[in-house]
Symmetry: C2
Amino acid sequence: MELIFLGTSSAVPSKHRNHASIALKAFGEVMMFDCGEGTQRQLANAKISPMKIDKVFLSHLHGDHILGLPGLIQSMGFRGRVEPLHIYGPKGISRLNEIISQFGYFTINFPIEIHELVEGKILESDDYIIECVKTKHNVYNLSYSVYEKKKPRFLKEKAIELGVKPGPDFGKLHDGFELKVGEKIISPEQVLGKKRHGHKIVYSGDTKPCKAMIEFAKEATVLIHESTYKTEDEIKATNNFHSTSKQAAKIAKEANVKKLILTHISTRYTNIDDLKKEAIEVFENSKVAYDFMNLKL
Amino acid sequence: MELIFLGTSSAVPSKHRNHASIALKAFGEVMMFDCGEGTQRQLANAKISPMKIDKVFLSHLHGDHILGLPGLIQSMGFRGRVEPLHIYGPKGISRLNEIISQFGYFTINFPIEIHELVEGKILESDDYIIECVKTKHNVYNLSYSVYEKKKPRFLKEKAIELGVKPGPDFGKLHDGFELKVGEKIISPEQVLGKKRHGHKIVYSGDTKPCKAMIEFAKEATVLIHESTYKTEDEIKATNNFHSTSKQAAKIAKEANVKKLILTHISTRYTNIDDLKKEAIEVFENSKVAYDFMNLKL
């Protein structure tokens, strides 16, 4: 699994920070979280083909999180895409496709499926579960979690002992299917180790610190939390429904996550080290994201 | 006068080329020609405040020329803009404001005046005349010209000879007003030199080579012409209603312009020197634009 931070600024971009967008390379695909203006160019610079993206998750419908969508969709069209693109997001998202298609001359030759979400489980595959929860911004904001389903270890020797032949039968049992060996039925439980926890990645979108986020981020491997402001600007953060670095760190601590990545940094701050210091005082394993930062899990 | 090339790619951006946009610093303001995705960030990098832009001229309504507008407008709003923004463009532009304002949560606190243009003179001030002409793209495309009105030289010694006192009276006469000196009426013609030609800047937008452009660009100081393709891809250029570098150079030659700047370069070409060479063979004073290229006139 690999997280690539395509844009880490807040409302206004700077020389070194583009608008919000994060790519997750995992499970043989690339998922995108938010898509601020200029994201297609950031993808090109990060050498990620837009054709590998089938799912875009939008936290909320503020421009700095969505204005890269029309250009991304056009780029996909130029490349001859035929596969559908799924766009997930909060209440109000259902008209997005219609609005984009009215924006100048716009031809979309592939299906765009818009999914208006409510809290809870969004998707489940053999490999992952994706969930969302409503958090506290001045417009409807969804935070997302991606939970990797990790299979228990396969106990090879035990399987051989039970008469299972190495090869495809090992796979069947590992995938959770029973197997007939002679007259005996071997159940997966007989040849599998303990339940294992996969990685859990949580992305806040834009939000004030809130209890819902603590619950939602519990035991996450990585919490990517917005940190628009420094502690000295806490009043501004509160008024604008954003978080400070310290507040994000408190969430990380209370949720007992492994790693905190701060993002959505206001371009008013030139000294980013201060944000990191403030977070580390509360939660040690804190880092400030930068554009094209690559985090391998 | 200063031309700043903010974006010089065609449909798809690359590491070094953003989508189409050109800023003209002149007459105490900044005019913008086209506004592709990511233009607000290019402006920040070029250290041009969006607050200085009062007029945006759009050549046509393809995404790579307009998708930076919503973000630019939002940025202006964040900075507390109250002055109106004028957006000029071809047929179909009148709904632009309505479409942008539906795109997510969008609050615009300043007036946006949309001007749907027909060919001819658009604006005239004491300092300049702006005109447009329809050229040949697969959608309605307008090419623009900015003509600088240059005052004749003021003949100081002649004015003193005629009894005019140095100071504000010089300015009045230079501005074309008559002046009473004692019993005599001094007319501006008595103290002004020959008529002078100001700079003429022409920007093509997206177009095939066409006669209308030759007429329109006649004697221009600078012709900024699209050159999406190399000569070897002339068939593609024709099919897509674009120009090759050689075709752009022929226009420059026939219009007898002083300088040709090629822009809107397809990102398929890594060797830009070839485009320049092809143009120079036809018209010597040719140059290929690059992002943040600054041309002082």
